[in-house]
Symmetry: C2
Subunit: 313 residues, 2 copies
């Protein structure tokens, strides 16, 4: 009887590893360094080595192990191949096959943002849902779409690339992706800081934000909670962009729940309240009550989701 599974989340600096019972109970959790040098050719062997060492350390039998789920920062195709992962210095690579050959265990790979969505559905803010949209508000804006408990990968691995939904045709400054007016330009930590700088430049109104030489998203939300008027304006603009974008996404997939994660979501319930106000204004009538919740797994969403990925099939 299979009892255990591994969840691996590969980042540009560290690889997060977890050993789970198949019901999602965490048995052990550790990290190893990501060796990106030499086109990252050591990354998968390092993972194989640490997994095999853990099996030995815990005295497990391979027959008890469902497999290894792995999330990586890049678009993973249905075949388990990745075209490239810039942060890992990888070119085309069949992650599943390589790691299976090295470990003798079944491997299932997915894009890290999509995998995080699966984790939040399984054990996080979206627990109990089968259909979910996760929006990760970090340095950039990522996301993951879950339909019937499965990740939507898409034809080019771009399923859930919702940070690049066009939300402002008037924008003059290009996004990292080359387009102009992407959601990420307003709803990321960087985007909020930019909105704040713009607001500070455009008015002379007093604001606690003026004391920061380099205002951050956290500063904006802290000032917002203190009732700072200019911070309020910034949060309203940000929330309208994201609430309106969510309204467009929900009339595509109509999820049970929307989950907001990433660093910006540390602003907590005030963030949800403000985004929800705009979401409800724009959402299709039958979707207006779709709950918007905070992600709860933080940096562990990836290992949970990776484990669920290999349990899913």
């Amino acid at each position: 009887m299979k009892k255990y599974c591994f969840g691996i989340d590969v980042g540009g600096t560290t690889v997060k590893c977890s050993l789970f019972l198949n019901d999602g109970t965490s048995v052990d959790k550790w990290e190893i360094k990501t060796h990106v040098e030499d086109e990252g050719k050591q990354i998968l062997p390092d993972i194989a080595e640490t997994v095999l060492a853990k099996i030995q350390e815990k005295g497990l039998d391979k027959g008890e192990i469902e497999g290894i789920g792995i999330g990586v920062p890049g678009p993973v195709e249905e075949s388990g191949e990745i075209a490239c992962a810039v942060n890992l210095h990888w070119g085309r690579k069949n992650i599943e096959k390589e790691l299976e050959d090295m470990t003798g265990l079944r491997v299932k790979a997915g894009n890290d943002a999509n995998v995080a969505a699966l984790g939040e559905m399984w054990k996080g803010g979206g627990q109990g849902a089968k259909n979910l949209i996760l929006v990760t508000l970090g340095t950039g804006v990522g996301g993951g779409i879950i339909i019937n408990e499965k990740i939507v990968t898409g034809a080019h691995g771009a399923g859930g690339e919702i940070g690049h939904a066009p939300v402002n045709p008037e924008e003059k400054v290009p996004c990292n992706c080359g387009n102009k007016g992407c959601l990420e330009q307003y709803a990321s930590a960087t985007g909020i800081a930019r909105l704040a700088r713009k607001a500070l430049e455009e008015t002379d109104s007093p604001s606690a934000l003026r004391k920061y030489p380099d205002v951050t998203a956290k500063d904006v939300f802290d000032a917002y909670k203190e009732g700072d008027e200019l911070a309020e304006e910034v949060v309203e603009v940000f929330s309208e962009y994201i609430g309106r974008a969510l309204a467009a996404f929900t009339c595509v997939t109509d999820p049970d729940v929307i989950v907001l994660g990433g660093g910006v979501s540390k602003a907590g319930q005030p963030l949800i309240d403000c985004v929800e106000k705009y979401y409800r204004n724009y959402a299709f009538p039958t979707c207006k009550e779709t709950p918007i919740r905070l992600a709860t797994l933080g940096n562990d969403a990836g290992v949970y989701g990776a484990a669920k990925l290999v349990l899913n099939k």
Copy 2:
């Protein structure tokens, strides 16, 4: 061995019926009247009667028949129930169970717009694709989302309600759904006519469109093909709205193909060319080359999709 299936498409005026071989070959095609009086209570019995009569007429054995797929104008839940279908005067009803009881055949029900998407994927403009977005540009704007050959129904049956994606926060006039600035307000036949009336009012420039007391979407596209400048402006505005909305939808599900159907799509390739120009401008880089094609099944998309629905499981 099962060999046949029925595809039924229920509209407010007629019920379209088709008998197919399971490979999609049409064996017979007919229509009956939709009796909406008395809360439409005769609709399902009429369908059962015509299906059973056809089985007898063709000398078929029920054992040879996979079942009946049926598309209805309303949100169908996973259970086969519908909460309401305004055009059929229906309240809550379990379509699948009722029609199964009446015919002794397996029944699978779906929303008509979603079912049409499945039809276009199976035998129409999206043939060969597993992931598709259908946008139906008719009196309103409907749609259907297919992922891995399955309809995305959503938590409230609102999957594919893309006509109500918010695309213009500046809009003052309400949409039929009660919100303001929905895609349908610009990209439907009614929406295009409204854009044309607005353009005619706002300028004095000469245009062939001035001769129509009540300008229609068809008039606009006819004049566009003749090089009428004002019609060109209107088509550009319309195409920007739809191209930009498609760019947002594709970063959610990343389909293999986008299919445009409905009455407005009769404008043909010039419509595709103009929408594609804006789509490519706004789409996420890896999705820029996603093909946009014309629907090819016209009013038959519903019966094909309904048949595929019952073949799917």
